[in-house]
Symmetry: C2
Subunit: 466 residues, 2 copies
Amino acid sequence: MPVVKPYSPSDLKRVINELAPMLGDRIHLSQATREQHGQGEDSYGCLAPDAVIYPFCNEEIAQIVSLCNQYSIPVIPFGAGSSVEGHLLAVQGGISLDLSEMNQVLEINPADMDCRVQAGVTREDLNMALRYDGLFFPVDPGANATIGGMTATQASGTNAVKYGTMREAVIGLTVITPEGEIIKTGTRARKSSAGYDLTQLMIGSEGTLGVITEIQLRLHPIPETIKAAICSFETVAAAVDTVINAMQMAVPLARIELLNALQMQACINYSKLEGFEAKPTLFMEFHGTADSVNEQVALIKDISHEFGGSEFTWAETTEERNELWKARHNAYLATLKLQRDCKVLTTDVCVPISALATSILQAEKDAEASGLQSTIVGHVGDGNFHLLIVFDPSKSEQIEAAKQLSEKVVMKALALGGTCTGEHGIGIGKKHYLALEHPTGLNMMKTIKKSIDPKNIMNPGKVIDL
Amino acid sequence: MPVVKPYSPSDLKRVINELAPMLGDRIHLSQATREQHGQGEDSYGCLAPDAVIYPFCNEEIAQIVSLCNQYSIPVIPFGAGSSVEGHLLAVQGGISLDLSEMNQVLEINPADMDCRVQAGVTREDLNMALRYDGLFFPVDPGANATIGGMTATQASGTNAVKYGTMREAVIGLTVITPEGEIIKTGTRARKSSAGYDLTQLMIGSEGTLGVITEIQLRLHPIPETIKAAICSFETVAAAVDTVINAMQMAVPLARIELLNALQMQACINYSKLEGFEAKPTLFMEFHGTADSVNEQVALIKDISHEFGGSEFTWAETTEERNELWKARHNAYLATLKLQRDCKVLTTDVCVPISALATSILQAEKDAEASGLQSTIVGHVGDGNFHLLIVFDPSKSEQIEAAKQLSEKVVMKALALGGTCTGEHGIGIGKKHYLALEHPTGLNMMKTIKKSIDPKNIMNPGKVIDL
């Protein structure tokens, strides 16, 4: 990918020199640090930024962004580096703004079940901080991502079927605009009709409209009763039909995750799971009062038996449950270990629940036809699943086949009324699909981007091209 | 209010003449029709538009808006005329676009629990259309508003505590932009990370960014068991404390509504409710399986007894339940009947649940000090309540006192971390509060408005002044 930088080396030097007195050794120019910040956990490779800065506060970021804006130097916000659509590549050079030093939980309001955190707080650290108040934050992408990054990519995870995505979790933000203004969006009220919803505009904007620095989050009480169960099926179709029926009967499942046979095999190997078979499997979790959980379990048992599901295997203790979900969260890493020296291309689509079986079965068929090993893992209660395509990066025909397979899955999802990304975002990898998904809306997205970031300094080359 | 029109009478005539062949007798110029369209159900009076047009389809609206844009003629979308913040006043003249002819339910997808409707469908008509599929649409502002109007004002109602507001209900839109483009936002997937969320931007934009013509809505299965109950208290504080405790214990109530003593008196009179006392009262509804409803009821009974609540009165049959909620929905009309020839100024605020008691008790105190009769009715599970201030419009000191009282309630809500409007919107009445609530965000809202509607033709003078 050719990098065309919209600024001169001397302008960059001027900006660095101007920032140096304020930031001191928090400006990093070493190649190792720059390369580490020029890539995510994906197969897009690396394009290193010119510098990495570790700000401490909103005011510093406002000054950095303001100065970068003056000299047209791109700013790329960086959380945990776990994004998977090339969000972090410095395609036009610029500065990576690493928010890991802004990692404070600013306030927890147990009575209102909300909290305010800095963008660099990770989801696991937040849940550690919340546990003494009997609260938890449910959104859980595979990686231990930062709350800032999860907001920017409109992340979700295994709990979204019950608790919603970042769109439902975030009630307010502090954002540094491309012109260096510090703005606060939202309030602490549960709902509002006051003006345009800037919070929602920023969620999923992938760093292209400003730097998200603080997030006000809705929390949930830790349920009185939690049970987790695993159930395997002879076919993917049977597992998916179980999910569709459960959703249509509005069973309030907290989690319902599908792993296809190969994904189960990979997880059994990687996480040393004992007592499981490499068959299409549902991982489920039930939250509620003891009675309500029993009622949910009885309903799901009925439905799964109808589709030939196995007896349920239970994760009884908190430790067993954590182990189970850790294995689920490590699905990507497990898939990476299926072949030596391979890479994994991940596709993330979401379809209406009625189209889920069609979509997944077609994906399995296309995967088989491609000749590449591919695992499927999905938040199927939302109609959301990922195809993880294993390929050898040294073989150009495999790279090409992986891309084609991914494209087939996305195009099928769009044809079924779905979206080209349920939770990973557009990044650099899905811009052409965004145009197909929103042929009439794209123009308005461009208008908004141009008006808020006229010099296109905020994570340029991502989401939309101007 | 002085009306300054950004167009000449001859330009208006030219536009009307140009539209006449397409629209025929669907262009109304009579004073009666124009005046009916220049006001809502509020105390802002009437400013009639120059014409009222009843379009049939997206393409007609695109042509109308495009032509109006060319000549800088304002366009004011009109649903049921039930808005309460002066949204419909033609403060800069222009054309009212009455969407009542676009009242088709376009599709219902029971398997995915969603539907697509034209903007002119009312919430009651939609629920009539849905009942054979065992589904319902929960958002219920007091009036039988249109889905288009409810989307534009980010409406909610009594069910929001369980089912959310329009922000959670709407998954996609068709919008006619100020330049006459027909754009489609969203998909039918339950979640998406694809680009900026134009759906969410349009929700609550109050007709200032485009004309909403079609809405894709999330639906819910009609619960297996529904129970409604009424419980009265000696003080408002006791009723509010019951609510706060229920919310903090995360009891999944479907509805929990507060009426203060005077509101109960008004409702008893207006709706001829029998067997109720004019005391602070909670109207509650429980949805779920039989077991789960019983569990919820037991929990709420415990909490309310702790705060001296009365025995529960039950609405046993569907008819009784409907009557009860009709009485609740008619709270505004009931308040209007408290005094002869009076008007009612409504204030709508929402605060964090922990601040609800402070906020409501202060409102009652301020109301008493004002010497004006005021009722309180609220979706208190959300922290949202309305103060309905009765005043004699012929007495300027009462008008002034009503405004001051309303201002006190709003300022208190803002001081408590709340919002100046939970569900009614900004309109013309709350622009100065929007600036206080979002001092740093207002500028970005203006930037967005200017970029999408550079000639300011879409419902000008509402939400923000440019």
